[in-house]
């Protein structure tokens, strides 16, 4: 923290309408979702409206941050804040996944054995993983690890490498490498998503297939959503690169996205091991 001694330089943004717009967006989105859940026809429309407001807010909000950045208002101290902020945000995401991994772990190690113990209620239930539970008489084949999932692991890992390669390019002022690296990363991310969608379509079970289906789809589904989000963020970054943003020693926006991408990568590795493989 070299610049740490001048807090007068810390940029305090003027009053902003984006937060309140964001609150309105979430209220609309949540309201619409509730209507949708309770099977009211207006639901999807209200949700769409909420999502539109939300996107409007995100574009506006990030737009002003980017403009402030380009105007050189965000000094080293603010940059440091952004870094810390991103680190803790990713930590909170880790804990969110932690909840679902916890559910998977608990169900396999505690729930199923104790259901198998309750022979009085569930005669003949063995409790072996994978399982759809004692009450669901459905035959299903679990997802095999060494087909698409293994390929997807490879794809995501190489996308982690390409984004790092792009970062090197940025740091050494080789903008071409930066651009190619980013585009490759996005393409790999999209390939991953396409394969994932294919896997879903081919799956021999659904989210209703007991605890196996539930943990499988929730974990991979939320991961897929994060990949999608990451890909959108990468796209935004790429546009900014083409617009000439970022300098070799000041490019927090880029780094934030790449951190996020690495986080998504690591979650996938855990998924591969605990959801598909073991």
């Amino acid at each position: 923290m070299i610049m740490a001694n001048h807090s007068s330089e810390y940029y305090v943004p003027p009053p902003s309408r984006w937060p309140i717009v964001g609150s309105l967006a979430l209220l609309t989105l949540a309201g619409g979702f509730i209507l949708f859940l309770d099977k009211m026809a207006a639901g999807p429309y209200v949700m769409a409206l909420g999502a539109a407001i939300l996107i409007y807010m995100l574009v506006g909000w990030f737009g002003s941050v980017i403009r402030e950045d380009q105007a050189g208002k965000l000094g080293g101290r603010v940059d440091m804040s952004f870094r810390w902020g991103m680190v803790w945000f990713i930590f909170s995401e880790v804990m969110f996944f932690g909840g679902f991994f916890g559910a998977l772990f608990y169900a396999r190690n505690f729930t199923l054995p104790s259901l198998a113990d309750a022979q009085m209620l569930w005669p003949g239930f063995s409790g072996a993983w994978p399982s759809a539970g004692p009450g669901i008489r459905e035959q299903f084949t679990p997802m095999a690890a060494w087909g698409i999932p293994a390929l997807n692991t490879l794809i995501l890992l190489s996308s982690g490498a390409t984004v790092t390669w792009a970062h090197w390019g940025l740091k050494q002022g080789r903008r071409r490498q930066l651009k190619i690296g980013l585009i490759l990363t996005i393409l790999l991310g999209l390939t991953f998503l396409v394969l994932q969608a294919h896997e879903y379509l081919d799956a021999a079970f659904t989210i209703r297939t007991g605890i196996y289906g539930a943990t499988f789809y929730m974990l991979t589904g939320f991961h897929g959503m994060h990949v999608t989000l990451g890909a959108i963020m990468l796209t935004v970054i790429t546009f900014r690169v083409f617009a000439g943003h970022f300098s070799p020693d000041d490019h927090f926006g880029f780094e934030a996205v790449s951190w996020y991408w690495h986080f998504v990568d690591v979650v996938w590795l855990l998924l591969f091991v605990f959801v598909y493989w073991l």
Binding site: S114, L115, D117, A118, M120, L121, W122, G135
Partner: protein, 387 residues
Amino acid sequence: MRLKEPTTTRPALLAAGLLLSLPALAEYRFPLNLQPPVTIIGHRIYDLSTTINWICFGIFLVVFIPMFYALWRHRKSIGHEAHHVHEHPLLETLWTIVPFLVLIGIAIPTTAVVVEMKDTSKPDMTIKVTGRQWKWEYEYLGEDVKFLSNLATPREQISNQAPKGEHYLLEVDKPLVVPTDRKVRLVFTAEDVIHAWWVPALGVKQDAIPGFIRDSWFKVDLPGTYRGQCAELCGVDHAYMPIVVEAVPPDKFAIWMNDQKTRLAEARAAASKEYALPELVAMGQKVYQANCVACHQANGQGLPPAFPPLDGSKVVTGPVEGHLTVVFNGRPGTAMQAFGKQLSDVDIAAVITYERNSWNNKTGIAVQPREILAFRESQAQKVAAGK
């Protein structure tokens, strides 16, 4: 000081006497500790609780006598100057270690009780307890005796239209009967949501969890009637789900058990009888009071939208088949339970007839127990055929 002055001693003695009798008085009107236990575990818990409360009281004095002394002695209004000491390593170490040691002292005897409490091995008998919204079902495993236990307090007492009885809310139509001096193991499960079976005097509280089996045990020292309540929020009538355990000497228990078995046989015989309409309605009203009022209310109006009215319901006034299906199988995913598993054929016939001929429902149709039996068999066949 003139201590012997009679005029001051006498009131003082009187006051002391009053003060001393106060706890007794308080105990009478205002119980201050756990209910008197009647099992080993109950006694252990009682003693543990008393000890720990005294320890806490002791620590409280140790901490707060100095504090109040400081507040009084070191107050600014008498010109006390602050003495600036902000660290005292020895003291700080002490007040970290001593509480730790106290905790170890508490943990050792407690651990022994936990281990003893959880030891459900080698029971003399096992009873399966099933929690349902909002009643308990008891099944004496290996004896083919099984019954429901419902709140017996009349609704008028709850709504303040009648004076409340002595055991208001803690009384049931059929208590759980157990022998004294026998190790009784209970296995718990539930049908719909989580309930908790709790009888303070026995020192047993255990959640009954749908789809899972949990167990606990007790061995009652003294014959008597012990009362408790469901202790896990389980919906609207969570407050109205009491537990009554009647502990009787083993010989009396054997008699009771035989009696149950003969009654069961009688009930089976009764199912083949033909009943008149008024007879069924009268019996049905009792069944309704015990099993249905909670949701559908005495006036048949229900509590919409959660619980639909039966008065004027198309299902109730429509074909018997449809009506019977709802009552028998419930409506999955709603609070409406499958009463086919809970009630006897006679009861179901009676309650359905009651519903069809009460309030504004005037179908005049009497549904006979044998119709229920036929329905039960057809259902069983469907299940066997895989739906």
